[in-house]
Structures are given as structure tokens and as C-alpha cells.
């Protein structure tokens, strides 16, 4: 790839085109302003440089294509079919080719509906779905390895597997820390919607926050958005236990966990639980966790936050999500949403509060159904078989 000269804006040109001087000077002094008027400031490279770039891209594309074709040829000798839906390419074994031919367009449509302008993330490389007895293949830069598909798999099941595999593929573009924080396949909501689930995780997150065992979770529920940032682990913390839990949390946890489950000997348990020694509780809690972390909220809460960021980010959000190298989760969320992380958290919080689940004690449907049955049964009683003394 050639180096491009970009100096002050895009005004500099190489000697190939910009060094024309010489007679008549007066004419060029008149022409130069005209040339500058029609010059396109956006063009930062000469035609030659542009040609070099195009050539290098063409070479790279041809190299990738030949790699793909040689791999496909090798696979075709084993009876591998290639199925395409737009730029989306699937390799599959012959026994399941028919069901894959039905499933691939449906899967691609669902992926496009979710990723929109970032759909090409799903088409970065072909995906191979094997069936029983086929040659195993591991992922490479040329082709990704999908899950095994059974001979009797139905179309809907295959569509969902393709979508989830795409989600895994896109997920590999995230860094390890972000992927761990997210804790789920980014295409899981798409599969859930296709399965007829019209709800969301927000009601569960509401209950989770309302019943949170961590001080930071309860404070978040009460409306403190800074606490929500902490509960959602958007920023790194040096001492998670001290940041997320108060002494009452630790004592209650140890009390409920109990000595019978290995949470302390009598000498450790009594000072904490019965004598209310905060230091003893803290020491026991840290010793039993042995360096691991008890997260204040579940990955479900993280996923709802990510969904909020993607919704706020609109078109291009997925692309920004996977292509942004962010030092913290907060930066990553802000990049996806194209908005400050605090705005995303505020929107997420209002969504969670609005999703408060309806009480299950008595619904209108249950009440009316019971009343109808009372009337029906009373009517049946008046019409029962005749008595005989």
C-alpha cells in the first residue's frame, strides 16, 4: 500500500501533477485561481496513488477468493454444497442441502433486519455447517466452522442455529473483556423474537434490582444512576466487594449461607453474625470467595443495557460496537450508542422502571373466568338429575 501525502487539508499533490510551471506564466496565473475553484478538496490522492490502492485491494480480494475456491474445491470433492443469499455464503454437506437452501435466505433476512447497515459483519467469511459423518473442519481465516446439523433438523431450528452462529462470529470481533461482560450471543434476542417471544428481559431486571442483595443494586433501583454504573460494572473497580456491598449485605449473605455450606467455622461465623463484627464479616466473605467476584447484577442486566445502546445508536451501532477499541465498558457502550454512557444508563434505567411486572396475585382474566364458572356451576346444580326419596 503506498503512503499518501496528506498535508494541510488535501491541497498537496505529488510532482506528477502539480509541478507544471513554465511559460506562459501570466496565463497560468490566471488559470490557477480557476483550477483551484474547480479542484475537489476532498480528493486526497492522485490518480496514480488511487490506482495503486485499487490494485492492492484487487490483489487481496483475488487472493482471498482463490483461497476460498481452493477450500471449496477440496470440500466439494466430499459433497459440499455452497448456498448463497446475497453476500452471505454457507457451505453445507449434501444430505442437509435441501433444508439449508430453505433456511439460509430466512436466516439472512433475519440477520439483515437486526444488523441493518452492518449486515456485512455476518458475511465476512463463509460458514460451514457439517452433518453427521462429515470431515471435521476448524475455523480459519477463509471459512468459519458452524455447529453440526442433524439430518432430521427442521427449517426453523436450522434458521435459529445459523443466526446464532452469525452472532458468535460477530462476537469474535469483540475483545475478551467485553465479550465476558456481555455474557450472551448478540443475536439471541433475534432468535427469541423469531420463536414468538414478544417480551423482554426488562421485567426480570426490574425484579432483580428490586430484590438485589448488593447495596449498589438497591441504590441503583432507588434512582442513583452513578450506582447503576457501578452495578453494571461499566468502569473498572479496585475493590469490588467494598464498592458493591455494605457490611449488612455481607452479614446477611453469610447468615443465610450458613456454616453448613462451608461459610465459616464457628469461630469465624459467630463474631460476624451474632456479635455484628463488620471486620469479621468482611474477612470471612473475602476468604470464602477466594478472589472470585460476586457480581451485583446478572449478565441479563448487561444485555439489556447493550440492547439499549444499540437501539440508541441506530443504524451502524453494531459496526461501532465491534470495531471500537474501548478501554472500558462505558466507552464501548458510548461508542455503540453514539452518546455518552450516562445517557445510555439513564435511558436504560427508565426502561427498566417502565417494565415493572404486573402483580400476579389476581389478574382480570382470572377474576372474570372464576365468576363465569361460579354462575355456570350454580346453573348446573339447578339442572342436576331428579331426586327420588
Amino acid at each position: 500500500m503506498s503512503d499518501f501525502q496528506v498535508g494541510n487539508g488535501c491541497g498537496q499533490r505529488t510532482e506528477a501533477t502539480s509541478s507544471s510551471t513554465g511559460p506562459p506564466v501570466a496565463r497560468s496565473s490566471l488559470l490557477l485561481p480557476l483550477l483551484l475553484l474547480v479542484a475537489t478538496p476532498i480528493e486526497c490522492q492522485t490518480a496514480a496513488e488511487y490506482q495503486v490502492r485499487v490494485d492492492s485491494l484487487r490483489d487481496e480480494w483475488q487472493q482471498r477468493r482463490s483461497e476460498f475456491h481452493s477450500l471449496a474445491s477440496a470440500l466439494l470433492s466430499d459433497g459440499i454444497d455452497t448456498i448463497k443469499a446475497g453476500p452471505f455464503t454457507i457451505l453445507t454437506d449434501e444430505p442437509i442441502a435441501d433444508v439449508m437452501k430453505q433456511a439460509v435466505p430466512l436466516a439472512w433476512e433475519a440477520v439483515r433486519e437486526t444488523l441493518r447497515s452492518d449486515s456485512m459483519l455476518a458475511a465476512a467469511r463463509p460458514i460451514y455447517f457439517p452433518t453427521g459423518g462429515s470431515r471435521p473442519i476448524s475455523s480459519s481465516p477463509a471459512v468459519a466452522a458452524g455447529p453440526w446439523i442433524g439430518d432430521s433438523a427442521d427449517v426453523e431450528d436450522v434458521v435459529n442455529r445459523i443466526i446464532l452462529t452469525v452472532g458468535s462470529e460477530v462476537g469474535t470481533l469483540l475483545d475478551d473483556g467485553t465479550r465476558l461482560w456481555l455474557g450472551a450471543n448478540i443475536m439471541s434476542p433475534t432468535v427469541a423474537r423469531r420463536s414468538g417471544w414478544s417480551g423482554s428481559y426488562l421485567p426480570s431486571v426490574y425484579v432483580e434490582l428490586a430484590t438485589s442483595g448488593s447495596a449498589v443494586g438497591r441504590t441503583c433501583f432507588a434512582g442513583d444512576l452513578t450506582a447503576c454504573r457501578a452495578a453494571l460494572e461499566l468502569d473498572p473497580v479496585s475493590d469490588p466487594i467494598a464498592e458493591w456491598y455494605d457490611t449488612q449485605d455481607l452479614r446477611r449473605f453469610i447468615e443465610r449461607a450458613g456454616m453448613s455450606r462451608g461459610w465459616g467455622s464457628t469461630e469465624e461465623w459467630i463474631p460476624c453474625v451474632q456479635e455484628s463484627d463488620d471486620t469479621a464479616c468482611d474477612r470471612l466473605f473475602r476468604a470464602r470467595l477466594e478472589g472470585s467476584v460476586l457480581h451485583p447484577v446478572s449478565p441479563m442486566a448487561h444485555q439489556t443495557l447493550a440492547a439499549t445502546a444499540l437501539q440508541m445508536g441506530g443504524d451502524g451501532a453494531y459496526g461501532r460496537m465491534v470495531q471500537t477499541v474501548a478501554p472500558t465498558v462505558a466507552d464501548w457502550i458510548a461508542a455503540a450508542a453514539a452518546a455518552p454512557a450516562d445517557s445510555v444508563v439513564a435511558r436504560w434505567y427508565s426502561n427498566v422502571m417502565a417494565a415493572r411486572p404486573a402483580p400476579t396475585t389476581l389478574t382480570a382474566a382470572t377474576g372474570w373466568s372464576a365468576l363465569v364458572w361460579i354462575v355456570v356451576l350454580a346453573a348446573i346444580a339447578t339442572r342436576s338429575t331428579r331426586w327420588r326419596s
Binding site: V207, R218, T366, I374, A378
Partner: protein, 221 residues
């Protein structure tokens, strides 16, 4: 006429109705007392989730008490008639359906007492506990559900008891037939379970027993 029927119904039901009414008042209070000390306002760390779990567990007792009260009042409605061979009922210058409705009405009146006392107990339990942020008490909704469940149970057993021994026989044969079908199909390796199918239809909306299923939560989010 109704007053006489009510008095006779009460005399046949009071031995069960009295303790049932006391139990209806006490259950919500016991539930709250069990889940979180009435004197402990610090329902914070890890206690909130436990409180909700305990509330859900006590729901079984509410449903059982409602069913038991309905059964007790329904059998009390027809006990004397069955013993006397319906002579008194047949001798009255009254259409059969009117007589049945009078009996039914007396049962509904008698059930009002335990339902009201349940509601009072739920109100007292909700007032006695300091709820953490995010939780709410639903004493009236719970009492309404209890009342509807008791009336449904009363209606079911009343309808069965209002019939003759032949009617009861039909019902027993139907239940026996379902059990036999289940055993035969199971032995033949069939996946379909007729008994489970019928129970599912009865206990899911809009079945008659759906009011007994689900979560009976005095305290919820």
C-alpha cells in the same frame, strides 16, 4: 324460607366453618411473620428475595384453605337432605331450582365470614410489616382471589352434591376411565397422557380451577 335454610346450613357447617374462619384470619399474619420478622425493618440484603420466596410458598396454604372451606360449606348444604332422602325438599311447595338456589345462596352467605376475616388478616399483615423499597402489598387482591377460589370450590362441590348418587357415580366412572386410559396408553408406549391433558385444561385459563394455580402473593414487586 331463606332464613330457615340458612340456620340449618349453619348448624351443619359450624364445626368446620368456625376454625376455618380463624385460620383464614391467621394465615396472612403467619406468612408475614415467617418470612420476615414483623419487628425487623431491615429487610435489605438477601432478605428481599427470600421474602418473596416465602410469600410464594404460603400461596399453597391459601389455596388449600379456600378449597377446604368450599368443600365444608358445600357438604353442609346437602348433608341433611341426603340423610333424609330429600323428603323435606320434595315436600315443599317450591320448584326444585328455587330450592337449590336458596341452598346455594345460604352457602355464599356463610362463606362471606371467612373471606372477610381473611381480608382483615391480610390488611393487618400488610400494615404490620415495613416493606423495603420496590415491594408492595396486595391484601385486597389476595382476599379477592381467596374469595373467588372459595366460591369456585363451593360451586363445584355444591353442583356434585346437588345431584343424585347416580351423578356422583358418573363422575367417579369418568375419573376412573381417565386413569385407565392413562395406564393403557402408557403401557402401549404412547406419549399422550389423557389425565394430564384434562388436568391441564382444568387448571389453565379459562378452566374452572385456574384461580387456584399461579402465585398467591401478599407482597410482590
Amino acid at each position: 324460607m331463606f332464613k330457615v335454610i340458612l340456620q340449618s346450613h349453619w348448624s351443619w357447617s359450624k364445626l368446620l366453618l368456625g376454625p376455618g374462619t380463624v385460620a383464614a384470619f391467621a394465615l396472612p399474619i403467619l406468612a408475614v411473620q415467617e418470612a420476615g420478622s414483623l419487628s425487623d425493618p431491615q429487610l435489605s440484603a438477601w432478605g428481599t428475595a427470600g421474602l418473596l420466596h416465602e410469600m410464594e410458598q404460603w400461596g399453597t396454604w391459601y389455596a388449600a384453605l379456600a378449597a377446604a372451606l368450599g368443600l365444608a360449606v358445600a357438604t353442609g348444604a346437602w348433608g341433611s337432605d341426603h340423610r333424609g332422602g330429600h323428603v323435606y325438599a320434595l315436600s315443599l311447595p317450591l320448584e326444585r331450582w328455587r330450592y337449590v338456589l336458596l341452598r346455594y345462596g345460604s352457602g355464599v352467605v356463610l362463606l362471606a365470614a371467612p373471606i372477610v376475616f381473611f381480608w382483615l388478616g391480610a390488611l393487618l399483615a400488610a400494615a404490620a410489616i415495613e416493606l423495603p423499597n420496590g415491594l408492595h402489598a396486595y391484601p385486597t387482591a389476595l382476599a379477592t382471589r381467596f374469595g373467588l377460589a372459595a366460591l369456585v370450590a363451593f360451586s363445584v362441590f355444591f353442583a356434585i352434591s346437588a345431584g343424585t348418587a347416580r351423578t356422583a357415580g358418573y363422575i367417579l366412572v369418568a375419573v376412573g376411565g381417565l386413569l385407565a386410559a392413562k395406564l393403557l396408553l402408557s403401557a402401549a408406549g404412547a406419549a399422550f397422557d389423557p389425565l394430564a391433558f384434562v388436568i391441564d385444561r382444568l387448571t389453565s385459563w379459562p378452566g374452572p380451577l385456574q384461580v387456584f394455580t399461579g402465585r398467591w402473593m401478599l407482597i410482590d414487586v
